[in-house]
């Protein structure tokens, strides 16, 4: 045991260095579950169980608590006994119905025969269906609860989502972002790279170009405009820096755009597991599988940043994060967090329930190297 533990620690250290942490919505990461109060009763005669269940389901259907099992075993060994969830507190609108000692009468009045039903007591139950195994463990401590495990989400939560090949790719792109950051001339040293994950190619990259005259030319924002440029648009004037289509080493790089059909350009095995090809289940508390292929316009060109991934050395600010959302980005990978950051630190723009687009965010990629880049502003 001790030996195995030691071994694991060594591996952990190695793992830690390559850690890629998902930035998830709070309702997924929390292990504090909300509770509701219900009335439960002991079943003294097991023969009445099915009849009781049938009548209860008609009188008090568990509309808001469908995830709960109606019957539970309590006690151990010879003392095992059955308990039944009678109804929720809010199913009883009148205060006199809520008196526990009167519960038998209340049930009878609602066509539930109390024959074989013992003591009635109050119990706490989980308010909603657990989203993760950790939440499930918390939930069943209160009352038996149904749980459908989201395998991808569990992989994400314990850091096994990306295989080593994926990690290498992700780190390589972050290295590009770090080398871009070193070109930054202004007050912030940040780099950003847009990647088409289907072909694993860099679409554009830039250092941070903000200065007193261009306060909005943050690296991610510049890249959004470079993507527009690659699609025949674009709006920025880059003071003294021209977006160079020829050299991927220039501070500001944009790939020459080709008219192409996506299938012809990027042959892709149907069984290939591209990381994050699906929307994270539970982001909005429900399953949403979205076609993650690059949306193309009528000319066969990609539309905005749909399907692209952004690698940036530090967490984007609220302006940049929302610019990425407006551009329909697919995923963001960043190095280090900042207190005012909008993808996990101060705001969670990528999982804000009111917004119409959600995207995946991972942090901690080459964190130490990203931190070392000198930075002092947003």
């Amino acid at each position: 045991m001790t030996c195995a533990k030691k071994l694991k620690t060594a591996v952990d250290c190695e793992e830690e260095r390559h850690w890629i942490l998902p930035v998830l919505a709070q309702h997924i990461t929390t292990n504090t579950i909300e509770l509701d109060t219900v009335y439960a009763g002991a079943i003294e005669d097991k023969k009445v169980t099915s009849r009781l269940l049938k009548e209860l389901c008609i009188a008090y259907p568990l509309k808001l608590h469908q995830h709960l099992k109606r019957i539970r075993n309590s006690g151990t060994g010879k003392n095992v006994r059955l308990e039944v969830l009678l109804c929720c507190e809010r199913d009883l609108p009148c205060p006199e119905e809520r008196i526990r000692s009167q519960m038998h009468a209340t049930l009878e009045a609602n066509n539930v025969s109390t024959e074989g039903l013992g003591n009635v007591y109050l119990a706490k139950v989980p308010r909603s269906s657990p989203l993760t195994r950790a939440q499930y463990r918390e939930a069943i401590a209160y009352w038996p609860t149904q749980f459908h495990e989201d395998k991808q989400l569990e992989l994400l939560l314990d850091g096994r989502y990306f295989g080593s090949a994926d990690r290498t790719k992700i780190e390589n792109h972050m290295r590009t972002a770090i080398s871009r950051a070193r070109n930054s001339t202004g007050e912030a040293r940040v780099g950003a790279v847009f990647v088409d994950p289907l072909s694993d190619t860099v679409v554009c990259s830039s250092c941070d170009l903000r200065d007193a005259e261009h306060p909005f030319h943050h690296a991610p924002n510049v890249c959004v405009d470079l993507v527009a440029r690659s699609q025949g648009g674009g709006a920025y004037e880059y003071n003294g820096v021209s977006a160079n289509p020829d050299s991927s080493d220039s501070p500001c790089f944009v790939r020459e755009l080709r008219r192409c059909s996506p299938e012809a350009e990027v042959p892709r095995a149907p069984d290939e597991r591209t990381p994050g090809t699906r929307e994270l289940e539970g982001h909005k508390g429900r399953t949403a599988t979205v076609d993650k292929g690059l949306a193309r316009n009528s000319a066969g060109l990609p539309y905005l940043c749909t399907g692209y991934d952004l690698y940036t050395t530090r967490e984007p600010c609220v302006m940049c994060a929302m610019a990425l959302l407006h551009s329909r980005i697919r995923r963001v990978f960043y190095g280090c967090s900042v207190p005012g950051g909008a993808l996990g630190s101060y705001y969670n723009i990528h999982v804000q329930p009111e917004l119409n687009h959600h995207f995946e965010v991972f942090r901690g990629i080459l964190q130490e190297e990203c931190k070392k880049l000198q930075w002092d502003t947003v």
């Binding site: 007193a212 005259e213 405009d225 674009g234 905005l304 551009s327 005012g340 804000q352 119409n356």
Partner: protein, 189 residues
């Protein structure tokens, strides 16, 4: 035409801003912003218009240019701010000093991105028309205007409700005219 709260200007604003925001001026700027929004609509853009006013002088006007530039961040406010930045450059003025005395008039509540940009350059006051339920950064979805975001500068003040009905009507026309089967019917303000 509904004008609300116009006389209730925050007291701590620079004098030059208080002087230039009596109701009749405010209305005039709002009407002009509304006309810019109409132009945007004619160009097939989401009809949002804005105007940046510094010491009674209009330094920038903008309508959405998202479709034109294929850049989803080219909102009216960003276009207008770029004009102000350019003006400062030409005049040799410090943009930070100029923006501190500049009021933004915009037909629709700035989105989260624009609200962030406006805070970055320390705009003290925004006068806007209708709320932006989908993306609003000044109260509707987030409070980027007033939250104490680390290293994002001072909060900014908002006056809302000016010509709100006109702004809503323009947006209604835009979304009504859109093909519901278009690849991206949600291209936004």
């Amino acid at each position: 035409m509904s004008i609300t709260n116009v006389d209730v200007l925050p007291k701590f604003l620079p004098c030059s801003i208080e002087n230039q925001t009596p109701p009749r001026y405010t209305t005039r700027y709002s009407v002009r912003s509304s006309n810019t929004a109409k132009d945007a609509l004619e160009q097939g853009e989401v009809p949002v218009g804005c105007m940046f006013v510094y010491r009674g002088k209009v330094l920038g006007t903008g309508g959405n240019e998202v479709n034109k530039t294929k850049n989803a961040t080219r909102h009216a406010e960003m276009i207008g701010m770029d004009q102000v930045l350019k003006w400062c450059r030409v005049q040799g003025l410090d943009q930070a000093c100029v923006f501190r005395e500049t009021v933004l008039y915009v037909t629709v509540e700035p989105c989260i991105m624009c609200a962030g940009a406006l805070r970055l350059i320390h705009i003290p006051l925004i006068v806007y028309g209708c709320r932006n339920e989908r993306f609003g950064g000044c109260g509707s979805v987030l409070h980027v205007d007033s939250d104490s975001i680390p290293s994002y500068g001072a909060s900014l003040k908002c006056i809302r409700g000016l010509l709100a009905d006109d702004a809503v009507e323009l947006l209604r026309q835009f979304y009504k005219g859109q093909n519901p089967n278009a690849p991206n019917p949600k291209l936004k303000s």
